[in-house]
Amino acid sequence: MNKIVAKRRLNPTVTLMEIDAPEIARKAEPGQFIILRVDEDGERIPLTVADFDREKGTVTIIFQLVGGTTIALNELDVGDYIRDFVGPLGVPSKTENLKKVAVVGGGVGCAIAYPIAKKLNASGCTVHSIIGFRNKDLVILEDEFKAVSDKVIVMTDDGSHGNKGVVTVALKELIESGEEYDEVITIGPLVMMKFVSALTKEYGIKTTVSMNTIMIDGTGMCGGCRLTVGGKTKFACVDGPDFDGHEVDFDEAMERSRMYEDFEIEKREENCRLYDLEVQ
C-alpha cells in the first residue's frame, strides 16, 4: 500500500501523482518504470517514472486516462492508498557521455522524456527539447522543460500553441540548420517515434526510443511485452524499455498494442456509464 501525497491535473486527460515509495525513490533512474494495481482484483499497468525525490521518498507518475484502470486511479485523491506499487523496473536510460541531445516528446510521453532531459541537463549536456501535443489544452510540462533545456520548441497539430505541425517538422529544421546531435531521444506515441526514427536514420543520428508496451508482471515472466528489435525478439520490461529506434519493428509493435482495443473501449464506456450514474 502506497500513499498518494500530491495530485495535480495537468490537462483534462492527464494527471500527475506523487506517491510515497521511499525504497523505489532511493533507486529509481530516468527511463525506468513502475507497475501498479489500483485495488484488489485490479489490473497491473506499467507507468514510467516521471520524477523522483530521494530525500522525500516519493516517486512521481503521470498518466493519461485511457482505460478502466487509469480512470479508477484518477478517482483517488491525496491521502488515499494505491494497493500495489512495484519498481523500479527496466533498464535506466543511458545518458552518459552525451554532449548534445535532442529530446523529442509527444503527448503524455513528455512525462517520460522530462526526467531524461533533466538528468542530461544536470550532467552538463546541451538539451534541445521538442514537445508536441494535439492542441493548446493538452500541453503539459512546458515550464519544466524550459527549466532544463537550452532550447524548447512546442508543436501543436492545430497551431493553437507554439508552432503548427508535428515534432518531426521541428526536428528536421533543427538538423537542417546545422545542429549536430550525438543522439535523439524520443518518447511518445508509437507512430511518432516511428517517424522520428525514420527521419534520424536519413541523417545517421543515433536514436533511442522508449517502448511502453502491454505488460503484466514487468519482470520478464509473461512475454506479453515482446517486440522485434534488429530481427530478434526482445522483452520491453527487462531488455528495455529503451531501444535503438532504427532497429525497432514499429509496425508490429503498433499492431500488438491494439490487442485489447475492444476490451479497453468496453471498459471505458462501462466506467463512463458508472460515472454518469454517480453524477445523476
Binding site: 497491473r44 500495489d84 514487468g218 520478464g220 515472466m221 512475454g223 525478439t233 500488438r256 490487442m259 476490451f263
Partner: protein, 469 residues
Amino acid sequence: MRRNMSLEKNKMPSQEPEVRKKNFLEVATGYTEEQAVDEAKRCLDCKHKPCIAGCPVRIEIPEFIQKVIDRDFEEAYQIITRSSSLPAVCGRVCPQETQCEEKCVRGIKGEPVGIGRLERFVADWHFKHSDTKVEKPKSNGHKVAVIGAGPAGLTCAGDLAKKGYDVTVFEALHEAGGVLVYGIPEFRLPISVVQKEIDTLKALGVKIETNMVIGRVLSIDELLEERGFEAVFIGTGAGLPRFMNIPGENLKGVYSANEFLTRVNLMKAYKKDASTPIQRAKKVAVVGGGNVAMDAARSALRLGAEKVYIVYRRSEAELPARLEEVEHAKEEGIIFKLLTNPVEILPDENKFVKGIKCVEMELGEPDSSGRRRPIEKENSEFVIDVDSVIMAIGTSPNPLIKATTKGLETENWGGIIVEEKTGKTSKDSVYAGGDAVTGAATVILAMGAGKEAAAAIDEEIQKRVKSKE
C-alpha cells in the same frame, strides 16, 4: 486389522468432464473419510518402506498412513508437516507416479497405494477440522532473507522459521505463492488452498514482503550488508518463457503459457467482470506436452473455446505431463495432435492469428535426453485453423538476479550453479534452489531443494555462532 487387497486405488471423486469443462472449480473433489481409511488399508506397512526414498522431502509415508487407518487424521497431518511445508499443495500437484507411488510394493501387481490422494485428504481434513494453533517458535535472533515466495522459497522459509529464524520472504508479484498462484489453475489447485498454507507459514513468524523485485529495489549485497540478513536463499524460479522463433510468433493472439495462465489465474481474467483482459478464442492450439500445456489447454476450454488442440512433436509415450493431467484433458475433449510440430503461425488481415502451419514428425534414434528424437516427415505440411496459439515449450531461469549480483556463478543457460545437497552458491552466505537452479522442474523438487538449503543455512549460521563463542 484387515488389509484391503483390492488391486485398484479407491477412485478419486471428481466433477464429470461435461460439467467441469465449463467451470473453474476444482476437478477432483477429494476422498471422504471412509474412502481415505479404505485406501490407507491398502498399505502393507512393508518393512523397507521404499516409498519414503521416492519422496524428495522424505515424508514418513507409512507412519502417516497408519494414523489414517486409526482415524487420527490430525496426527497424520502432523507427521506429514514434519517433512513438508505444503501438504495440501503436494497432495494435488506432485507427480506421485514417478515418485513415492512408483516405488510402492502394491504397484508391482495392480495399482500402488494412492499416497498423493491420502496426503491431500489429510491436509484438507486438517484445514477443515483442526483448531490446533500453530505455535511461533522462540526466536534465535538470526535474520535470513528468501527471494521468491514460490515452493522452494516458502519451504526454505518454513523450515528456518521452525528453527527460530527471523525470515523475510521477498516476492516480486503482488501475491505470494509463485507458480502455485500464477501458473497452476484454480481447477487443479485452488488459490484458497495455497492461501491456507501461506497463512500457516505466517503464523510461524515468516514475514512476506510482496511487490519487492530483488535485483532492482534492493540487491543481494544490500540485503547482506545493509539490511542485516546473515544469509540469502534464492528461489526465483524459471519464469522466462521460451518461444520457438518461428514466423508469426508475435501476432496478436499468440501467448506464452506464462502470460495466458497469469492472466487467467493471478489476474483472475476467468471472471466475467475482471479488469485484466484475455482473448476468449474459439479455437486454440497449445504447443507443448507438459503439465503447463495441459493447464493452458484446459483453461482455454473453460474460457469458452470450442476446439482446443495440444500440438506436440513427440508421441504420447513421451508426453512429460502427469498421467492424470493427460487423462483429464482427454476426458474433457482436448484434441491431441501428436508427432506434430509447428513451423509458422498464419495471420489474418488484421494481424490476428488465423491458423498454425505444422509438419508431421516421426521418431528416430534416442537423443541426449534418452527420448527418441522427432524427425520431420517430408512434404507433410498442413494447417490447423485456430485463432489463438499458446506456447508452452518451457521456461528458463529469470536473468534479473544473475545480472544484478556480482560473484554469482551461473550456467550459460542461466541456471545458478550450486553445491549439491546444500544449495550453496559461489557467493558467500548465498544459497539457491528450485527451478532457478535446475530449470523448469516440479513443485516437490523445488521444495526438496528449499529444505536442503534451509538445513545448510542453519548449519552455517550455527557454526559462525560457535566460532564467535
